[in-house]
Every structure is written in structure tokens, then in C-alpha cells.
Point group: C2
């Protein structure tokens, strides 16, 4: 199955999907887009993805899948091994909840387009944007740290000793945090998980600086 | 299975979960929280849900499930009928992507806590908050309308003629939009789906004005 990944090196939704594809052992053609130049707003790209967002995953049959978490669930259903979700329903609920804490409560607020709106309409300068970004990371990472430290299910990674869906989101978000110099040491459990993930080729190869379009 | 739903009538993540429970035919005890009064920030509630967010679904065994979409996926796995996702992987990917367009690109930006930050740190008055809210709804609803109008899979509801995961998110978001008087007629396909959903008791009974804590 030939796959084409429409994405951007620094996009954290792209990072989490790249790591998922790597974990599943799936190869893909890498097509980069420069968000600031509006390259995802062209008529051609909007036909693939009416939201004009990355990532999109295009299949050989022309079908284009959108929304990173929906794509990862599709990968999990069509390529079950290695599994990104545990087998038991309670475990799956826990892993999805951890993933969604990051994917729904942090990342959507800290997108490039959101920071752009703050600058344009509220005159948010770099310091104000950093304060905003840091506030939403901190709010959720504090709760995530509490949860990971509390739960017996936490292992070397977010859920046991195998990397999965929640780790994909955590890894990508910690990379995103680096842009605003957020100190990961504030959250030792998260920091430990990140360090172990970063030692795995599937994750390391998905990291922003290791992409062909990295500056 | 006795279930307790910790929620708030106006919360759109609560609305989508209430409708899911209703569709599955599951009864629950309704425990309301007033967000503005900080009732989800008490030590007791934070033990259940370290994020201090609604909804949380508490089971008879004391286990507390969090994050509305993760809870709905758990309901789907443990109570498969009636199904909220299609059987085929492509259909599931489409429904999840539609749901995530709303749940990840609209709702997280338009939370009470986000509007509160804008007011506190950027002096956003009612008009500025409305402009912000409307901007993010419009950005995604335009793309959602395009997608629903384009795809052959769209039926009476987002995917065929059976209500599912995407409809839960759409229904709750349109209710949320009403608070800022956003005219749904701008998006005729979405408006039609909302109207048909609103005629179903499972959805209507989940709507904000029909909850015990509605003002």
C-alpha cells in the first residue's frame, strides 16, 4: 500500500502521525507544506482536505484521510500489529483519555493559526503568545502528571511498557513545547516517558528536526 | 450497571455524552456542577478528574472515565448496539474525522475557560469574545459543510441515515453556537442534519435546556 503523507515538520499533529506510521512499519512518501506561506490553502490542497490543515494521508486509491487521531485509529484497525491501544476496554479508555487530554485541551489552543489570531486581534506580542501557550500546556500537563503518577497502569510509557496512542501525543506535544522553551523537568513522570520515547527510532525519526523540510 | 454522570447542562462535551448514553439506552444518575462557581475544582472532584473538567462518567465499581470522546468510544466497545460508528474501516475513519473536526478544532477554543483567559489577559469584551467564538465555528463549519455536501456517504445524518459519533458532536456544537446567536442557516446541510437530530428523543433529551440544572 503506497501512502503519501501531506505534512509539515514542525506540526505536532504531523509528528504524532509520523511516529504512528513508523511504529506500524509503514513507509510513506513525504510531501512538505509551509504553513506560513499558505501552501495548505491552495485549491489543490483544499480538494484533499477542506480544512486546509495538515496532516492528510493519501492512499494509492486516491482516498484522503484527515484528522490525525482519526487516521491513527484507522491505522490501528487496518494494521493491528504492533498495537497502539491495549486489548481491554478499560485500558483503551484510559489511553484514549490521556491522548485526548493533549490532543483536545492543549494542541488546539496552541496552533499557529490561533497564535496568529491573538496577534492580529488582541495585539499579542511574543511574550503574550508565550504566556498563552505556556498556560495551556501547564494546565493540562499538571493534570497529566498527576494522573500518570497516580495510576498503576503507568509503566515505562503512558500505559505499560509498550508505546501507544497516548505516547504519540505526549511525544509530539513535548517537541512543540520546546519552541516556547517550556521546562519539561517540571513534570518528572512526563519527562521520563519522553526521554524513553526519544530513544526509540520510530519516535526519533518522526521528530521535527529529523524531517526533510526542517530548517 | 449503575452510571453516574458528572456534568453541566450547557457544556457541549456533556451534551454529546448525554446523547450517546441515551442512544445506547443507558440510564444514569445526573450530578450537575456549576462551572463558574468552581464546583469542578474541589479536592473531591479533582480526585475523580484531575483536569477538573466535565463530563466524567463514574461506574458502580468506582472507576471514573474522563474525556467525552474516549468515554463514547468505551461505550461503543462495551455496548456495541446501536452502533455509533459504521462497521467498515473507511466509514469509521470518515465519522471520526468529522467528529474530530468539531471536537478538536472548534470546541477547545470556545470553552468557558478560554473565553475567561481572553477577558482577563487581553481585555476581550463580549463583542470580542463573540467574534472569537464565531471565527472558529465558521472556519470549521465552512469546511464541514463542504465535506458533508461533497461526500456520497452523507445521508439524513452525517454518515448515512443512522445517527452516530459525528452527529453527537455536531448536535452539541450547534447548541453551543446558539449562545452566541450564530445563524445555522449559513450551512444548510448542517442545519438539516441538526433539525433531524433534534427530532430524535435521544438527542432532544440531551439538549441543554432539557436538563435538571438548566436555568
Amino acid at each position: 500500500m503506497a501512502l503519501t503523507l501531506h505534512n509539515f515538520f514542525r506540526s505536532s499533529t504531523s509528528t504524532r502521525l509520523r511516529a504512528a506510521l513508523n511504529l506500524k512499519g509503514l513507509e510513506y512518501d513525504y510531501v512538505p507544506y509551509v504553513l506560513r506561506k499558505g501552501e495548505t490553502r491552495t485549491p489543490d490542497y483544499l480538494k484533499r482536505n477542506p480544512q486546509g490543515l495538515v496532516p492528510s494521508l493519501e492512499r494509492e486509491d486516491g482516498k484522503v484521510l484527515t484528522q490525525s487521531l482519526a487516521i491513527i485509529e484507522w491505522l490501528e484497525e487496518t494494521h493491528p500489529e504492533p498495537a497502539l491501544l491495549p486489548k481491554d476496554a478499560d485500558g483503551r479508555a484510559r489511553v484514549r483519555a490521556l491522548a485526548h487530554m493533549i490532543a483536545l485541551e492543549v494542541h488546539p489552543l496552541n496552533n499557529l493559526r490561533v497564535l496568529g489570531y491573538l496577534a492580529e486581534h488582541f495585539g499579542a506580542d511574543d511574550a503574550a503568545q508565550k504566556a498563552w501557550f505556556t498556560h495551556w500546556v501547564t494546565t493540562t500537563f499538571d493534570a497529566l502528571e498527576t494522573t500518570l503518577a497516580r495510576d498503576a497502569e503507568t509503566g515505562q510509557f503512558c500505559h505499560g511498557d509498550t508505546p501507544g496512542l497516548a505516547d504519540l501525543c505526549l511525544y509530539a506535544q513535548v517537541w512543540n513545547n520546546k519552541r516556547f522553551e517550556i521546562d519539561i523537568a517540571t513534570w518528572p513522570v512526563i519527562a521520563g516517558i519522553f526521554e524513553r520515547l526519544d530513544a526509540l527510532p520510530a519516535f526519533r525519526d518522526a521528530a521535527p528536526p529529523n524531517q526533510p523540510d526542517a530548517a
